[in-house]
Amino acid sequence: MGYQTTLAKINAIFSDLSKDYVIYAPKRFVGDGTFTNIDTIRYGEITDLSEIEFAEKSNYSFKEVLLPISETLFYFTENEMKEADAPKKGAIVFLRSCDLHGLKRMDTIYLENGAVDTYYKRLRDKTKFILMGCENSFENCFCVSMGTQKSDDYDAYIKVDGNAVLVDSHWDLLDAALAGATEASVMPDSVTANNTVVTVPETVPQTLFDAPFWEDYGNRCIACGRCNFVCPTCTCFTMQDIFYTDNGKAGERRRVWASCHVDGYTDMAGGHAFRNDKGQRMRFKVMHKVNDYKRRFGTHMCIGCGRCDDVCPEYISFANCINKLNTLVNDSVKEEN
């Protein structure tokens, strides 16, 4: 149901909801960026919708809400273990269409691929997703190429325009709170084109895994893993045990974000590792995002947010890489014929 209301009214509603939900949205952190006098936009708790940065793309995705950078799984003392408590409140997450598609990728890994992940599910079940529209495409976005520029899978769509607020609600709680507000026909803003256009090759023959093409990336990539950490669909982690310095018999097991670009990702006991070459790590990631995942689950993993291209300190463009790979695939097909 669509509504037209005011910022004051919607803030009052969210203030009420905050008794049961923590509200997360992209916020501007002034001066917190990597370089001097540079802001960063990342997810944080909000109490007022005017805190939300609607005009720019967030540097980091929403994924840390459901998959914290470091998450305690359980506590141990001698032979006893205790599962870490679930957050008491649920979460409300403001996010854009591409990220909402990213959520489906996370769901697939954490709820469908193998056993259900307890920690993910317990918060996911209590989380509501509010779509933020995109009036214009941002730099490096290629959502249209990946088919993620639109999504109907939201609990609500909210557009703030000064003091006026447009809402399209799929959430009965919000409908009830908005009872009496002016009804309106609300269509989420979405882009129809991006400056960056990506053509994903249908299939990539394994013969191209060793193509000299990847060596360029081997020379440029510094294995910092930033592309993985900003990506809403990168969901890998590593287990980590810590014990308390005051009492060595007690401690906790955590999982922390892991990156397939960073050294140690494939290390096995005894020292053997796979993909020591950084170009091969790039190949592994690219193939996962636009080929392997699709073969297993039916959709591409990459959702075209372009954050990896925004963040790379070596100016490596994932979008360019896919396009170059597409050319390479087409050329190899021509050669065969």
């Binding site: 141990f76 890994i109 307890t118 590593t238 045990d241 999982r255 892991a258 494939t266 096995m268």
Partner: protein, 265 residues
């Protein structure tokens, strides 16, 4: 509905410890659920972490885990196993399906600790020699000091054709030397296009062994391999063991070669 938390390990008692070498022990652990050779458990040591260890034997209410002391977790297990319990999660992975090999001529080639995940198969056919046409166990170790399962070899030699070789002999050693591949042509096989090959070991050993099996007429659909990777969660989440669209912890670690040959890290 409460979801069972797959990350919380259970306590298992150490029933026996069998010392093979200075750094390789078999821990016989209590476990009464279903388990297949080639599956693995995450051995969990609070404060130190977890390590994926394959099942090297299946007993009545027990599983054997043969552990090599090579990392942070395994070092600690060796130091402190007197605690007589270990935490486990699992079993994970698909494991070997004995039914695939029954009634066949079988060559099982293992390198070093690669013998652990397939030992359950050897144990089975050693106990049921009539369930296959013939069974050759071909194992390579680095040196005579690295030989695992010495007692079991005595048992296996009664019913199976056992060839053991070492890369580097020591003084007083009078067994076979050299790589496993050189012994493959000597193994008597009636119909190599029907025979089954099972190959587990270091990547290069597996590659060369499979090439040699092809040379003597084996078909790729009759060859089975088991892959070792860093399996951190064991349940398809952490991503460390993924190769292409395959999660080794879920779809493997055992693969028919028709699939396994396409796995490229």
């Amino acid at each position: 509905m409460t979801v069972i938390n797959p990350y919380i390990p259970f306590l298992s008692e150490i029933v026996a410890v069998i010392k093979h070498t200075e750094i390789e022990f078999t821990f016989r652990m209590t476990y009464s659920g279903e388990v297949k050779p080639g599956q693995f458990f995450e051995v969990s040591l609070p404060k130190f972490g977890e390590a994926p260890i394959s099942v090297s034997g299946i007993g009545d209410g027990t599983v054997d885990l043969t552990i090599r002391k090579v990392g942070k977790v395994t070092d600690e297990i060796f130091e402190n196993y007197v605690g007589d319990t270990l935490f486990l999660r699992g079993p994970y992975g698909n494991g070997f399906d004995i039914a695939n090999y029954k009634g066949k001529e079988i060559i099982l080639v293992a390198g070093g600790t690669g013998l652990s995940p397939v030992k359950g198969i050897v144990d089975y056919f050693s106990a049921h020699p009539d369930d296959c046409k013939s069974f050759t166990l071909l194992v390579g170790f680095k040196s005579p000091n690295d030989v695992l399962f010495k007692k079991d070899f005595e048992e296996w030699e009664k019913n199976l054709n056992v060839i053991m070789t070492v890369d580097t002999p020591v003084d007083g050693y009078c067994g076979k030397c050299g790589l496993v591949t050189q012994y493959i042509p000597e193994i008597p096989i009636e119909n190599s296009d029907q025979a089954v090959g099972i190959v587990v070991g270091p990547p290069m050993m597996m590659k060369c062994t499979i090439t040699e099996l092809f040379n003597v007429g084996f078909k790729e659909e009759n060859i089975w391999i088991s892959q070792e990777r860093k399996m951190c969660c064991g349940i398809g989440k952490c991503g460390h063991c993924k190769i292409d669209d395959t999660y080794i912890c879920l779809d493997g670690p055992v693969f028919n070669y028709t699939k396994g040959k396409f796995l490229k890290d």
